[in-house]
Symmetry: C2
Subunit: 198 residues, 2 copies
């Protein structure tokens, strides 16, 4: 294509990044080669190291290069409050947007028996052990509202209920600053049904 | 930020790519770690190799991992027609969009004496040698229409004129399918002044 097989290979390899099509990949490859070789060299090294060393936290299953992640090993965080999310991205989103200072459990998926994803694949045995340890007094369910998300939330709510632990669910409704007319019907109907006293 | 310094380093390193801000960088890092480690490993290796091995063609100065690029060493391309462009991206754009089967000279910049960019920095001594070799009979000027681009085009046109070589300039005007009302005034005025018999 470009007369340089290595440049073509770089353009092709960049397409593993989400949202990067052939045009952006070409622009990225030419940009780093012409203007930021130092950045590209560093990115190459860090990518290799990250893929090699980053795994999942033994306790909460989020991404970390250590046996136990920075959040689980942070003694200043409240061990009584545990938030269950689907992905490591959700951990970052909640930590960056809210003042939550408890800990997490990352499912890395949703219950979906037909796809072979049962409680074990979501680390729910580990979660049960943490609930059994007796330190937790609120389990916050922060998974999505797909059918699988609802099933997963219900299943985990039952685990908590059996142990007499309170479980809460984050609110779903109209986004802040959202115009009602642009909100989808499902969300609006849910928000209407979940109305609270003013 | 994420409780994993290596993940933070990866997010930071991804920002060397053009158009990638903190949010996209985070999304890219999580995506490759969760879903495409093989792609990320490959990207890391190719980036390192590309930065190490890709340099500039000895003849035309485009990007290549060889001494002479694929285009310059392609005997099927017409040595009589030489197109002068500013960047390796322009070479790809022209080769992909047009049927041009001649060769290129890549300036890697524009004449800008105040910034210390003179004829030597643009490889114009090499270009003169190619013109002197006597094989070229059309020099196509395909640089931009900024002030520096115009100055550069004029300078190179003079080099060709002194040797009795015809130089042409690619047409500037209203883009195909472009609505007149959305075309900027400079382009429209140029297109109007450059009108041709129907």
């Amino acid at each position: 294509m470009s007369g340089s097989p290595l440049l073509d290979a770089l353009v092709d390899a960049l397409r593993c990044l989400p949202g990067v099509g052939p045009k952006s990949a070409q622009r990225m490859a030419l940009h780093v080669l012409e203007r930021d070789r130092e950045g590209a060299r560093r990115l190459g090294l860090v990518l290799g190291e990250a893929v090699e060393r980053i795994g999942h936290c033994r306790i909460c299953r989020t991404l970390t290069e250590h046996d136990v992640c920075g959040i689980c090993s942070d003694a200043s965080r409240d061990p009584r409050s545990l938030c269950v999310v689907e992905t490591p991205a959700d951990v970052l989103a909640i930590d960056q947007a809210t003042g939550f200072r408890g800990r997490y459990h990352v499912l890395l998926g949703q219950l979906s028996p037909l796809d072979g994803i049962g409680p074990e694949e979501l680390g729910l045995d580990q979660l049960e052990q943490r609930l059994d340890a007796g330190e937790i007094d609120e389990l916050i369910l922060a998974m999505g509202t797909t059918v699988e998300g609802e099933v997963t939330a219900h299943y985990i709510h039952e685990l908590a209920r059996q142990r007499g632990i309170r479980s809460t669910r984050i609110a779903h409704g109209v986004p802040l600053g959202g115009d009602l007319e642009f909100v989808d019907r499902g969300t609006l109907s849910h928000a209407f049904a979940s109305r609270r006293d003013y």
